[in-house]
């Protein structure tokens, strides 16, 4: 097995010019680099004896299984490394999904859900995918920044707005805002809607002719449409979302919980096949009509 087999190159678009930069890291969620710390946290290990997977660190994200032909699953569906190509098909259980979702809830957004979505896109061969895609505030109308409380007079040094993942395939562009689900407060939903307004109103996407879907993705399995509707009602500034989308017939909006993407992985492992069309179908099937009801 190649010494780069279980490593992924995480590409991002940085700075005003959105120049490409990249980092390599093990596929495991929860890490973004290769420092000692990251190596300790990762289930995937590499040393002079080759690859190993420490099942006690494994979240069952199955990214390793999606990437490598040399990964089999044991009786508990934990992945392990073999020295032969594996063609077996596996049935991922509900328990496996619970294990994964609880781990995903534990990771921070960047190394958790965002890395996971990015990796799924890449491993399903949607190669024009980037994480942390900067949008300089210069590209966002000032009045929208002001209405959303994101305007700073010394704005040139203000932090960019950063879509978590952006993937392009054929005529579609998919822009993700990923959040950790919480029952404790609504801030994560308010923030996500604000972010999507900022992305959608920026020159970066306003100028594009593609079909652009902005996706609010969160960990869990429930549809949160009702909760989003309530929050938009309570926070009138969020209604800009409708105004921005109204003017752009090529824009759409989807709400997708992580369980839907996990189902794609389950399906892929069961059939030993990765089909990027299924990702497109999933996202388009979750399109919402505005105003949300």
């Amino acid at each position: 097995m190649d010494t780069k087999e279980l490593i992924i190159n995480v590409e991002s678009l940085t700075g005003k010019n959105r120049s490409k930069s990249s980092r390599t890291t093990f596929l495991c969620l929860g890490i973004l680099d290769m420092t000692k710390d990251d190596q300790n946290k990762s289930a995937i290990k590499l040393d002079d004896n080759g690859w190993k997977i420490d099942k006690y660190r494994c979240s069952k994200c199955y990214l390793c299984k999606l990437k490598s032909k040399y990964i089999a699953l044991d009786k508990d569906n934990f992945p392990y490394v073999t020295d032969r190509e594996v063609n077996e098909k596996y049935e991922i259980s509900f328990e496996d999904q619970i294990h994964f979702e609880s781990c995903l809830a534990d990771y921070d957004e960047k190394s958790g859900i965002s890395k996971w979505i990015y990796s799924i896109f890449r491993l399903f061969d949607i190669n024009e995918t980037y994480t942390e895609c900067a949008i300089s505030k210069e590209y966002i109308p000032k009045e929208i920044l002001k209405k959303l409380g994101r305007f700073r007079a010394d704005g040139i040094y203000g932090k960019s707005s950063i879509p978590d993942v952006e993937g392009k395939i054929n005529e579609f562009v998919f822009v993700f805002e990923n959040k950790k689900f919480s029952t404790a407060n609504d801030n994560w939903i308010i923030d996500a809607v604000k972010q999507i307004i900022l992305y959608a109103s920026s020159e970066i996407y306003q100028k594009r002719k593609n079909n652009i879907t902005f996706i609010f993705c969160y960990n869990g399995s429930y549809n949160i449409r009702g909760r989003v509707v309530k929050i938009i009602k309570e926070n009138p500034e969020l209604k800009i979302l409708y105004e921005v989308f109204d003017k752009k017939p090529n824009y759409s909006f989807s709400l997708i919980p992580s369980s839907e993407f996990f189902n794609l992985i389950k399906d892929s492992i069961k059939n030993n096949k990765k089909d990027k069309q299924k990702i497109i179908d999933l996202i388009l099937s979750k399109k919402e009509n505005f105003p949300l009801k």
């Binding site: 390599t24 420092t35 990251d38």
Partner: protein
Amino acid sequence: MTCWLERGESRFLDLITTSVHGLVHDNRRRVVPNKYNLFVSGSQVHALFKNIHPTILESQIKNFANLAQGRYIREFAYVLLALNFCEDTHASHISKRNIKKISDFKQLDYTEYIQSSKSIYLANKSAYDFCKLDFATDAWANFLASKMLTYGYFCRYLDIIELLQRKNYEYLKENTVYITQLKNLLGPFDHRVKGSGPDFIQETFKSWAFLLGIIDLDTGGKLSNYTKKDRLDYLKKHTGYISGGKQEYAILRNLKKSKIKIKLHPEEEIRMISFMRLVNLEGWRRQYNSALYSALRRLRILYFLNYNYKKEIKIGELYKDEKLKSIISHFKGDFSILWDLIHLECGGLKFQTIDDNKKYSSLTEFILEKIIKVKGSSFLEDLKGVETKSIYFEAAWPLFKKINTKNLRIMPLRKFDINNFNKYCPQGEWIEWIQKN
């Protein structure tokens, strides 16, 4: 060339060491590396990282090099220049600019020297000598420390420690120095993003100073008991960011204040910040004429004072200087001589200041005293606050215009390395004239 260092990553002494190894390794193969290649070569050839799996090491290096759009590794290239391990052969082309008269300066001729994107690096003898030394040995530490004690900006750091110790004792009856006071007083004070460089460089300078035995810290805790051997052992165990994560040099991370004993002192001759760095780089980009005006004024003052090393002169004599006058009459802009002198002090020079027979160790101290006179000794307490702006400079600026400088006397206590400086300074008849006494 000598630059302002401004990022905390430059604290990692192992990465500095590996970078020098990379530079020498590449030069031996007749390759003159850029900042990326020297860092990569160094990390691969130097034994510090030999226990790391090659694939992981490759990833670590690549990731490190990409952080903050390459600013981390740029900082290491700047360290090698600041500590005089190499020449920047691209930046040295500036010395081919032949200035016969002041109007020969053209903006386009200088834009390529603002950044280091085209820079490539040639090791000097000291880099080869340094590579013969084992990491974290006494000889290695002494070698590095001697380099640091001639780097002007680091000398400024030690000067400010010494100054704050005296002032805190005099006004607050305290023996301790606060890191926040240091960052508020260090300078340079012309950063566009205030509180940036001088803030971040604290990590670097305190790590260098403590771990190489240039200062002792009397915190009353564990750090007080670290012998030089303990510090070097610590360095051996903590080989830097790329293998160890952000917690490296953690013993110093929470240090907020300490009694500090300076054990090794700056040399009399220092490496002064290079010509292009006499002005904020943003200034060259956005306000070229004003930047050039400041750089030329400071260039003249630099040489004028170097000729007057250890001689007491009136600041009024500077105003009478024909060469400075010719620069001023060409640009016709407003300026403050005190601000120029303070900027040069930030670069490592030190001007003993005499006012009404009262002596101050530096102009920075003199201005600080003036501020205390206006704001009271509580200003030293204010300096302890975490500010996003430079409160020293903000308090000093209105005073620059009020202080009568005519009879104020200064005595330069340090010289600068002219050869090193001139390698990165435009040349030609006019510059020679400016540089002559």
